[in-house]
Symmetry: D3
Amino acid sequence: MTPIFFLFAFLLSTINSHVAARDFCVADLRSVETSVGYPCKLPNTVTVDDFIFSNFTVGTPNQFNFSVTLAIVDNFPALNGLGFSMARIELEEGAIVPMHTHADATEVVVAGSGPGKYTTGFISSDNMVYIKTLVEGDIMVIPKGLLHFGFNAGEGKASGMAVFSSEKPSTQLLNVALFGNTLDSTIVEKTTFLDAEQVKKLKALFKGSG
Amino acid sequence: MTPIFFLFAFLLSTINSHVAARDFCVADLRSVETSVGYPCKLPNTVTVDDFIFSNFTVGTPNQFNFSVTLAIVDNFPALNGLGFSMARIELEEGAIVPMHTHADATEVVVAGSGPGKYTTGFISSDNMVYIKTLVEGDIMVIPKGLLHFGFNAGEGKASGMAVFSSEKPSTQLLNVALFGNTLDSTIVEKTTFLDAEQVKKLKALFKGSG
Amino acid sequence: MTPIFFLFAFLLSTINSHVAARDFCVADLRSVETSVGYPCKLPNTVTVDDFIFSNFTVGTPNQFNFSVTLAIVDNFPALNGLGFSMARIELEEGAIVPMHTHADATEVVVAGSGPGKYTTGFISSDNMVYIKTLVEGDIMVIPKGLLHFGFNAGEGKASGMAVFSSEKPSTQLLNVALFGNTLDSTIVEKTTFLDAEQVKKLKALFKGSG
Amino acid sequence: MTPIFFLFAFLLSTINSHVAARDFCVADLRSVETSVGYPCKLPNTVTVDDFIFSNFTVGTPNQFNFSVTLAIVDNFPALNGLGFSMARIELEEGAIVPMHTHADATEVVVAGSGPGKYTTGFISSDNMVYIKTLVEGDIMVIPKGLLHFGFNAGEGKASGMAVFSSEKPSTQLLNVALFGNTLDSTIVEKTTFLDAEQVKKLKALFKGSG
Amino acid sequence: MTPIFFLFAFLLSTINSHVAARDFCVADLRSVETSVGYPCKLPNTVTVDDFIFSNFTVGTPNQFNFSVTLAIVDNFPALNGLGFSMARIELEEGAIVPMHTHADATEVVVAGSGPGKYTTGFISSDNMVYIKTLVEGDIMVIPKGLLHFGFNAGEGKASGMAVFSSEKPSTQLLNVALFGNTLDSTIVEKTTFLDAEQVKKLKALFKGSG
Amino acid sequence: MTPIFFLFAFLLSTINSHVAARDFCVADLRSVETSVGYPCKLPNTVTVDDFIFSNFTVGTPNQFNFSVTLAIVDNFPALNGLGFSMARIELEEGAIVPMHTHADATEVVVAGSGPGKYTTGFISSDNMVYIKTLVEGDIMVIPKGLLHFGFNAGEGKASGMAVFSSEKPSTQLLNVALFGNTLDSTIVEKTTFLDAEQVKKLKALFKGSG
């Protein structure tokens, strides 16, 4: 049978020598990114642990009383090139997820166990409001790049998972973008129609200057 | 202020008249598919419910003692064009997920609560075995097109969720493909090196003819 | 020479019979869209005029004292499948382009003749402010999905052209999204941290209800 | 065993009901094209013959003493969405393949049996000449969109196969494009620097008017 | 309020640490290209000036009496991954843009101010001639890979801008490709049907050898 | 005429300085891969030989009495980014191509000269069997990721060529994946329903352990 063994050795060496790099392309995070992701780790350095992400569990709540645990290409290199990533979300009672956008990532929210109620909504670019209070077993799609928000509309905790149509989604929090940086107050005022006092108040709250 | 109202009416009519179709493209399932998905439902017929999938819950176990509940473009049209879909999985004690492949879909398994233990593994095309017993909070990536399998290695139920890198993943179950159709037994034997009796036995089990 | 004539007739019929549909795919706007654009007009119905867009000229200024003339797939079907579109912009003295985003479209602004000065800026998702006063011969790239704005910082008119990395860019105007629809005021307040009075005032200004 | 049979019936109905359309997307040629190909034939109407193309054999030589037999999506619908197509080529002794381009298709030439010698060359856009006389067992890549040509440099027939990086490659024959249509002679002269007489002579040869 | 400040610091560090690389991917021109562009400059080295291209102005006319000023990824790295680039064109009276192709780039010409008249045309691969004399406010689409040309058909200068569906378009000038290199004259003659004398004359004009 | 020469020198330097990298992207195999292929060789180091692959000829038969000669990106770098590759196949009388899959690569088989008869078949994920005995001039498409097989059904040799919709196709041989590695026998048994003895026999044959 040795011949057959050699045959396969031969077949594998000709057909499959580099093929792991095409079965998968685990990100080499020490390398520089391209517009389509990271270069691949050398196949012969990849082990089963490269395909495992641990502690995708509930994190500690933030000031808004919700926690987000992300599994994206930067902490889970096996997602490189896949075009999606995930987040585990838990909303304490009264939690608010402020108005924000994900540039170029659609978000799919999978509602988990309650008793809280995860309410989420988005506004389309033709200015329709799409809002829903989700219960366990509901999934909601939030199209990419649109303003959206959420809050816990019930009593007790609400939990969920999100899938993003990007292995490295970005988040732009409206208040931080408007009030948490050096953008000149007069520019904020004239491009948002907000009153000077309102801008001043939120600049203070979000530690913006200018 | 009416002028401003009209202004925006004007802006929206020029800029956004069709834009909903670009914010999202909810599948029109009555229409024929292309190699990149379904045509879009007319934006003005889309409501919030098009973005909602309900009953993404645990299904009834099959003969292998596991249940799969799918949310794919064919039952959740809002996934059209997104390039991923989801499944909720529950493994009873002793459950076995037979050897299978998903042509062109990577699977990402998110292990849920136990007490059972979800063991899953795949074989790469350079013939390495990648196997892991997952606990809650573990995620495992199973690269597209490769043979993989799973089973409940613990006591009590194991649960999980899967994300597929296709909005319409297909599944090829090895035993059904080899033994559950009209493929001639002599062809099965010579292309798999299985003994005639073994083939005959499994043809009977999986209701194949030929 | 007739034989050669026939030869080419033959060659063209075998090689090129449908090929116009691959040289170009002019949108059939009466047909339904897919997530990658419109089906193609039948090649034999396409004429030179299908490749021409006229009146890409300065439009009438709106309440903000700027005009936008768009050439996108919906009014210029030859852009179908190209992945970009264009706009001609003119800012009167004092013009303001309110804070907005283009979901999934990068915008490249080409500054035209003054004497006005086109100032534009964007905020990245890691909260840096990128702002520049452009002069004729300057081009600025505004990455997709990010909040950005503009105004005429000089005396007299400012003009420019924009190229979008989408044949059908959408625009979400912040104020219209927050205050110009049915989104409940209390939700606006808690997800934006704006004061109730500010919200009420802008709801009135932008004709929102709720 | 019936239960297991039902199980698979169940599994297949939930998992695979439409899946054939994702295993493959055979073109429905009666339907209109999109910029990414044809819509799919309904899976339940697809048979093994849809995956078969017959008579990919040597055709009758044309006036240039070569024959081309094409297998492209328009006569082999199973190539839909694959992004490549094929041609069988035979060059009689003395055959010439005139200067031409394939817009957006790279051509890969696989030299077949002689005794003739297939010489082919292309000119890159930085104006380098890449030319080679191929023998059986040689493959040459001709990058997309570039001017290229071929001829039989040996004695006896030369044969080959070509693969194009498009399921529907187009061909622009230089002489036909310049001299075989209604393009005004004075325009040809000033944009090609050819003498009026040369243009007149070739307009006559290629049956152009104007 | 410090807690909220820390909250955002935390949020940004978890969610956005690398995100700039996904908001944009400014080309690192010192790095080697891939088939999809350049690797990204490290986000923390990117400034507003990386998004600005200056001097997109009229250049000095060449021997054909036209000037081309290019803004492509190689001199404007912010275009990396965008899939388009731009050119500013000015045609002196009598200017001729010789017959040429752009491999794999569609060109969209935006006619600027006259008084000259920009006439441009292309030939499709099914050998139709599409020609038009443009006036200010006209846009014309020239499909990728096809032979096209232009000239100033009026009195006085004509100006325009072009957008290419490639961040790095290439140009193949017909005369340079045929007569400005080492391609053997006898090969040019037999693959173009041009007379030996015509070839000799143009080889001399365009400094070709062979 | 020197001025014109300089003109083109100028034109080429401005327009085409790097363009070769966009005409083509020959793989630099010493560099690390990305999920979309290899970085490009520096254009100025590319010669005509980079576009040539030699010895695409019949190889020596293996234990199954067939030979495979591959032309893929790893031994023919000019295929980088093209998305397809090729193989030359020869089946001796009685040859068997064992059951296998190509993850994410469709295979197109072009039947060559006999007298042998190349029979090939695949099983779709909705469990239909598609099988055909090919004769010279037949082409068959085998959709990506599906189990397929072949054998020589005639007398004498059968030959063919294959095109894969991947520049680096991988192959998973069913028997090697199940029996030629360290996968535990009890796992093989319960996930394939094969008898322990059958597994033991094939583990021995394919040199698997565990």
